[in-house]
């Protein structure tokens, strides 16, 4: 694969269509979903230091299984 030259990049920039590209909209939707998910999880008590404690969904294994 040959490296893209500055001239190629300039041509691509000059040919850029106005408006928000479709790929940007896709990233925006995915990003918004992720941010909402993070906020909901934090507000629902999923936040830091909640893993593996009492009442969590963490499974356990007994130390008796040690070799």
């Amino acid at each position: 694969m040959s490296p893209e030259t500055p001239e190629h990049r300039r041509s691509r920039m000059d040919n850029a269509r106005p408006g928000v590209p479709r790929w940007v909209k896709l990233f925006a939707v995915i990003g918004a979903v992720i941010v909402v998910l993070v906020v909901v999880l934090l507000l629902s008590g999923h936040g830091p230091s909640r893993h593996g404690g009492q009442g969590s969904s963490a499974s356990t294994i007994s130390l008796d299984t040690r070799r």
Binding site: P6, E7, R9, R10, R12, M13, D14, N15, A16, P18, V20, P21, W23, V24, F27, G31, I34, V35, V38, G47, P48, S49, R50, H51, G52, G53, S56, S57, A58, S59, T60, I61, S62, L63, D64, T65, R66, R67
Partner: protein
């Protein structure tokens, strides 16, 4: 900016970003081992090592990647907010660093539980959380990598009409 300085910044950004990706991959592999093993000693050992691994590698590399990316963008014709791909990479990096810094508290808690388990001989708590977070981080950084390589077109409102972006010095970011 001189080509030598531009390349040095590029090396710094690629190096720290690849290092970050590698550190996440190592953490993910350890987390999978801790989740899959039936050996409590192995699970405990992994939970104990994930936190120092995070402070020693994940956090410094993530901050270095963010800082080098911002500096390089500001000093290059790409700019920090002129092109969508650079702006989106910045937002992704900020999100990843923020979640990582929050998640360090979780890793500290998992390490505390592992220590308590070792001291008491009680059962070892296991959580899929490190696997889920590690896998999500890998996906995020791979998406950033794809953006960096393909540089999809599109200028933001701050970039359209700025002819500096169509110059001949775009071999950066």
């Amino acid at each position: 900016m001189k080509p030598a300085a531009r390349r040095a910044l590029l090396v710094a950004h690629v190096g720290t970003s690849v290092g970050w990706l590698g550190a996440i991959a190592a953490s993910l592999a350890l987390a999978v081992i801790a989740l899959a093993t039936t050996d409590a000693a192995v699970a405990n050992a992994v939970l104990l090592v994930l936190e120092p691994l995070g402070w020693a590698a994940l956090v410094p590399l993530s901050l270095a990647s963010l800082a080098s990316g911002v500096i390089q963008s500001l000093l290059s014709p790409w700019g920090l907010v002129r092109h969508y791909w650079v702006l989106i990479k910045l937002l992704m990096n900020l999100l990843a660093v923020g979640v990582l810094l929050l998640y360090m508290q979780t890793l500290a808690e998992l390490a505390r539980l592992a220590r308590a388990s070792l001291a008491s001989g009680d059962e070892v708590a296991r959580s899929a959380s490190p696997v889920v977070h590690g896998a999500a981080a890998i996906v995020l950084l791979l998406a950033a990598l794809v953006l960096s390589v393909y540089k999809p077109r599109g200028q933001t409102g701050w970039g359209s009409g700025d002819r500096r972006t169509t110059g001949t010095d775009l071999g950066t970011a």
